[in-house]
């Protein structure tokens, strides 16, 4: 679950991390008493909003409304700006960087900080970044914070505030099941305050059951992806035209790759998972057909999955949503002969191997049958 900046800042504030005063509006008319001077910031879940013109300064109410009306409705990274945050403009003396992530290789949380904040951390030289793993069972210890302060060369007053923010950020990271807490910039103001200038927060989807309050938040999904998500279907829209459906994440990715090697381009990633329930197969197919692919490529390797009941689901979907979209199907599994007969009966193109299925999909798409 990705958080918009203003949503992340709400959570930050709840944990006592200082954030600039601000208001959120979805129309310029909603701006009544903004903190001035302010920054008007597009609220989108994708990066690069500054470069796209989604962040502008304003000194008066009129300027704020003007900036908001220009930013609202903009498309940034393919997503419409529906809200803007008007945040108190800070008099910044120095910009720091602070983040907590999960280091997959070390299997531990990773604390990162730098005195060179305000830019993409990937562009900061490695030797300017403070890195320290945190043992998850024990939590952050004072030595780590001492080392961080020294490394960033923080004077006493600022150092004390940063230390407090690090502890609170780690509390947040743990208790909110975060994958990422990033404060960039962590601003040091001319009057010596330390404030989170921006806020990035990603909470682990697997932990949604512990944080049901976040489940309703908008995510960076297309309308069809959102519909699939609500139905519990793993579905991603891609920029090709072949509707790919398979069982298992790895096999679905491999099917897309093989299609590509054979000259086709996948338009969907649909992972059917371990199901052979015809109703679920039908539901998945309905989503797939709404994506309007030029051809559907189905690849099931079911060691245990019953191939024939998957075929029944496909039949039901095609009956319910009559369409001219051709289907190429490769199914391995229990009762696969019966499945192949049924697939032939309903006019789909059966294939033996993935490679054959991918070649056939490319051919069928081009009009050859």
């Amino acid at each position: 679950m990705k958080f918009l900046e203003h949503k992340a800042k709400e959570v930050f504030a709840r944990y006592g991390i200082p954030v600039p005063r601000g208001i959120v509006v979805s129309s310029p008319d909603g701006i009544v008493d903004p903190p001035l001077p302010c920054m008007v910031k597009a609220q989108v879940l994708v990066g690069g909003r500054g470069k796209a013109g989604g962040i502008r300064p304003a000194s008066t109410l009129e300027e704020a409304r003007q900036a908001a009306s220009e930013i609202l409705g903009m498309a940034i990274g393919g997503y419409r700006v529906k809200e803007v945050l008007l945040a108190e403009r800070l008099a910044i003396e120095k910009e720091l960087y602070l983040s907590l992530t999960i280091d997959r290789s070390a299997r531990e949380p990773l604390l990162m900080a730098s005195a060179l904040g305000g830019v993409d951390i990937e562009s900061v030289p490695r030797d300017e970044i403070f890195l320290e793993h945190v043992p998850a069972m024990i939590g952050i210890q004072p030595y780590a914070i001492r080392a961080l302060r020294k490394r960033l060369g923080l004077p006493k007053g600022v150092g004390d505030q940063v230390a407090d923010i690090v502890r609170k950020a780690y509390d947040l990271f743990r208790h909110e099941d975060a994958e990422l807490v990033e404060i960039n910039p962590l601003a040091v103001t001319t009057d010596g305050r330390v404030v989170a200038g921006d806020a990035k927060l990603v909470v682990d989807d697997n932990a949604e059951y512990r944080h049901p309050e976040y489940a309703a938040m908008d995510q960076d999904r297309t309308p069809l992806e959102a519909e699939a998500h609500d139905k519990g279907i793993t579905f991603i829209q891609l920029d090709g035209d072949v509707g790919v459906i398979a069982n298992g994440a790895g096999l679905t990715m491999a099917t897309l790759d093989i299609l590509n090697l054979k000259g086709g381009r996948g338009g969907t990633f649909l992972d059917l998972g371990g199901t052979d329930d015809p109703a679920k197969v039908r539901e998945a197919f309905e989503i797939l057909m709404k994506a309007q692919p030029s051809v559907i490529l189905l690849n099931i390797f079911g060691g245990i999955t019953k191939a024939d009941t998957v075929a029944v689901g496909i039949q039901q979907a095609l009956d319910a949503m009559p369409s001219k979209i051709p289907v190429v199907a490769r199914i391995k599994g229990v009762n696969e002969e019966r499945a192949k007969d049924l697939l032939r009966e309903i006019g789909t193109h059966p294939a033996e191997t993935i490679e054959e299925a991918a070649e056939l999909a490319v051919k069928v798409r081009a009009g050859g049958r």
Binding site: R104, D177, D239, G248, A249, D271, F301, G303
Partner: protein, 287 residues
Amino acid sequence: MAVLLTKRARVLVQGITGHQGTFHTRAMLDFGTKVVAGVTPGKGGSKVEGVPVYDSVREAVQRRRANASIVFVPAPFAKDATIEAIQAGLKLIVVITERIPFHDCLELMPYARSRGCVVIGPNCPGIISPGHAKMGIMPNHIFGTGDVGVISRSGTLTYEIVNEITKAGFGQSTCIGIGGDPVVGTNMVEALALFQKDRATKRIVVVGEIGGTAEEETAEYVKKHVSKPVVGYVAGRTAPPGKRMGHAGAIIQGTTGTAESKMRAFADAGVPVADYPADVPRLLASS
């Protein structure tokens, strides 16, 4: 011999009375696995597929000398179940459960290691040593005895590749599905190190995918420590950045985790990478 799992395993099934637990208990027994006990709190005293069920792991260990466990319990209870098994002294625990919160695994995995316990998974198909035993959910019939060690982050894609390996006349010493999550108990390098040491394993197949840097670290390890031939496969060459491709761990973040980087790392380490699953046995034969 095989890796981690042999005939000596006396397997306990945690969550045996659930649909998956029951179904796969039958399949594991059919494969010749010594499934000696099941645990479901509150269901002690019953039997599933002839296997006695207990209320706690300690009872199962005391009464039936279970020494390994496979966990099928739902995600919210998986951490509890795994810790219970570690505390009861089990040294091999396979966690099939998917969608366990990452922070639970961040606690669980270092703790297991500190107790000398090997965890496989979560979100994995398990481990299988043909001729010995299976602790997992893989289809039995696609495996055969042989000398290929298989390591994979995926489920069905592994079956596809194993099926090709077996069809081509090879068999497997052990196949370890390490799981599709970002934080796993046994990672690719650790699994590879086991196969390098195992005398029954003559060659190794590594099935990777986008996300993280496990394949790059594996390639480095191959360069320094592996004398046996290794063949690779990388899924997700056409995956867009920033999207989670089904597995929690299968995501390209910034410039990290691309298939290109993994394939390049394998190539640099002299590990041939298959374009198609059917190419894997061909590359094995020529390696």
